[in-house]
Symmetry: C2
Subunit: 441 residues, 2 copies
Amino acid sequence: MTKEVVIDGGGFAGLRAAKVLGHTEGVHVTLIDKANHHLFQPLLYQVATAGLSQSDIAMPIRSILSEFQNIKVLQGEVTGVDFKARTVTTDFGVLSYDDLILACGVRHSYNGHEAWEPYAPGLKTLEQAVEIRRRILSAFEVAERAEDAAVRRRALTFVVVGGGPTGVELAGSIGEMTRYTLSRDFRNIDPKLTRIILVESGARILGSFPPKQSSRATRDLEKLGVQVWIQSPVSQINETSIEVGAEKIETMTVLWAAGITGTEINQGLGVETGAKGRLVVDAYLNIPGQPDVFVAGDQAAFTDPSGQLLPCLSPVAIQQGQAIAENILRDIKGEPRVSFDYANKGQMATIGRSRAIVDLGFVRLQGVIAWMTWLLVHIYFIAGFNNRLSIFLKWCFSYLTNKKGARIISGASWRFFDTLPETKLDKDISDSLDVAEGQEV
Amino acid sequence: MTKEVVIDGGGFAGLRAAKVLGHTEGVHVTLIDKANHHLFQPLLYQVATAGLSQSDIAMPIRSILSEFQNIKVLQGEVTGVDFKARTVTTDFGVLSYDDLILACGVRHSYNGHEAWEPYAPGLKTLEQAVEIRRRILSAFEVAERAEDAAVRRRALTFVVVGGGPTGVELAGSIGEMTRYTLSRDFRNIDPKLTRIILVESGARILGSFPPKQSSRATRDLEKLGVQVWIQSPVSQINETSIEVGAEKIETMTVLWAAGITGTEINQGLGVETGAKGRLVVDAYLNIPGQPDVFVAGDQAAFTDPSGQLLPCLSPVAIQQGQAIAENILRDIKGEPRVSFDYANKGQMATIGRSRAIVDLGFVRLQGVIAWMTWLLVHIYFIAGFNNRLSIFLKWCFSYLTNKKGARIISGASWRFFDTLPETKLDKDISDSLDVAEGQEV
C-alpha cells in the first residue's frame, strides 16, 4: 500500500524532501505552497534593488518537480492539522497523510508594532521586493521634480532597520546604486548625496559573524556612503519620518529587516513553540509525541546536542529536508530512524558590488575575494539553468556598465502594498542570505 | 535664447522626438511620462503569457536619454494645457513651453461597458500584463485542485475578445502554452484539453491584413487548439461567464483586446477629436490653429492626402516623432516646415511559437519564414542591448525546451487589479504588434 506524504511549503526544505522522495516505489507526495513558485530568497534583495527581475529568482515548483510522477503540486494554504485524524485542512479542502512535513517558514515581525508595516515594508515575498523597488526608485523621481529643498532632502534619505544580512545587503545595494547606477541619470539632483542609514538595535551589525568581520563590513558600508547606527532602537515610524532613540529622521523610505516570528498555523497546533514562535522539535525533527509529523527549515526550532538553536539559514533547511525524507524511507524499509546532525556550511553576506564577508569556520574571507566566492556560490546553486545564465549575464552586464537591468517602477500604488493578503506575508525562508551548499535544491 | 520643448509621453513617438532634439544647441527638452519606463508594447503579450519578464521589455526612460544633457525626464502626469499661456499643468506643478509635443497614446475602451473591466482586463501596461499572467496561470492551478468537473471545465476555458493583432497573439500564445509548456506539469488535468476561444465581432480576424492572410492565421490558430468565432459580438461579461450573441460560455478568464479610445486629457483641450477620440491634426501634425502644439503617435488622428486615417502602429509613431522634431529644428534655422508623409513599413503578427504573417505590401510571408522575420525584426529593434540579449536567450531556451522563463504568479490578488489607478490605464501605444522599422527608438 502506498504511503501518502504531505509537504507544506516549497522552500528549500520542502523541495529537498520532495526530491529525495521522488521516484520512490510506494510513496506518493503532495506538496502544497501558497505561491506557485520556489523563491530563491538569498537573492531577493537584488530584485528589491533592481539588479534582477522576479523570474530570475523564482521557479515554478511544478516545473522543478515535473519529472517525478509520484509528486503532485497544489497551490493553496494549509490552515490546520488534525494529528489524531491525520488530516490537514487547506483553503481548498481536506487531505489525509501518513507522514506530514511542515516547512512553511516564518514571517517577519514588527515586534508588536504591526502598524508600522505600511511605512516600513519587509522583504519576504516577490510582491514585497517589487514594492520596495518601487519605493526606492520613486523616491528619486520625487526628489528630481521637487521644488522644496526639505521635500528633496526627505526623498533622498533612506533608512534600513535591522543590521542582519538582509539589512546589510539592502543598505549596501542602495549605496552602490546611488554611487554608480543612477549618478548620470538626473539633472536636478546628485544621487551621490543620498543619505542612507542602517539602524541596528544591538551592539554590532551581522551579530552572527565574528566581531572582526562585523567591523570590516561596517567600514565597507561606510565606503558606499551608508551610515551605520548601532545600539539604536526604533521608537516610531510614520509616512514621513522615523524616530531612532531621541533622533527623528525625515524620510519617505524605511525598509524593515528586523525580526521574524512563526506563521499563524503554529498557534493553532496546540504544541510547544520556542524562540520566535518556531515549533520545538526533537532529535528526529518530529513534534514531540507525533512521530508522523516532521518540521523542517525556519519553522522548526531545533536545538543541537551542544544546546545551540540552529539559525534560519537555507543550508539548515536543506539538510533537515534531506534528513526527514531519509527517515521516511527508513520507515518503509523497516530500518531505525537516524537523529539529525547539522553540518555547518558557514555563512556569507555581500556588501555592494564588489565586497563581501565569508565565514566558513576554518577560513574567513573579506573584500573582493569574498565577493567572488559569494558570486560563484550563488550562481552555481541557484535553481534552474535558465535563471542561472540570465542572472550571470545580468551581473556581468551591470558590473561592466554600472547599469541595473531591472530599474522598472511597477506595482500600482501604495495601495497595492496595503492590499497584499496577510497570507502572503508568512512564507519562504528568512534572512538566509548566508549560504554555501545552501542553494542546492 | 533657449527654446523650451515639452514632450508628454515616453513612448515610441516621444522618445524619438527627444532623441532628434538631443545634443541640439539652443533647445531644452522636458519629457514627462506617468511611468519611469519606456514600454516595448509589441512584446507586452509575451509578458502576459509568461514568455518574458517585465524588465525585458521595459527600459527606464532616464537611462535611455541620459547621454543628452539638454533633456530632463520627469515622472508625472500632464492633466491640462493652456494654449494661450503656453503652459501644461501636471500633478507636480505647471511648466511653460515654447513647443509642446503631445504623445501619450490611447487607452483601451470597453465601448460603454466599463463595468466589464475587472472581469476582462486589457493589455496596455506592465501591471496589466502581470495581472493577466497571474489569471492565466492561476486558472490551471484551480483546475488541478478542483473536485467538481464543472469548476474544472470553467477554469480550463479561456476567452479572448478582439481579433486584432493583440488578441491573436494572446490566443496563440495561450494555445502554445497549453500544448507544449504545461503539458507535463499537471497530474489531475490535461492542459491539452484547454478550450480557447477568440471572439471577433467583425467578419474576419486581423482585418487590417489581406483576407488571404486572415484565413491563414485562422488555420494556424486552429492548429494550436484556438476556436475562432467571427461575427460574434459580446453582450455580457461577469466573474464566471461571458455571453457571446446567444451563447453563454462558463469561464474564469476573459481577456480584452477590443477597442481603444483617447486619453482623458483629450476631452479637456476643447479641440476637435476624430475617430476613437484621437486628436485631429493638420498636415504638419499640429492641432489646427496651434502651430506650437504638435500631436504624435496614437494620440493623433492624422489623415494622409489619400484620405486614409493612419493606424495605431509604432512605425507611424516613430516617423511622426521624427517629423515633428525636424520641423522644430527648421523653425530654429528659419526654414519652412515640411508636411508629414508616412512611409508604410507594413505590418506583422505572430501566431504561437513558430508561425506568423507578414505584410510588407510588396511581399507577403506566412508560416515559419514569416515567424523568423518577425523574430529577427523584434530582437534587432528592441531598445537596449541588455534586454535584447536576455530576450534572445530566453527565446532560444523556450524554443529548444518548450519551457517558459517567467511562469511566476505575482501580483497580490484580484484586488490588486481593482486598485490600479485609472491614470495607469491611459498610456503607451495600442495594438502596435504590427512592426517593422517600428522598434527603432
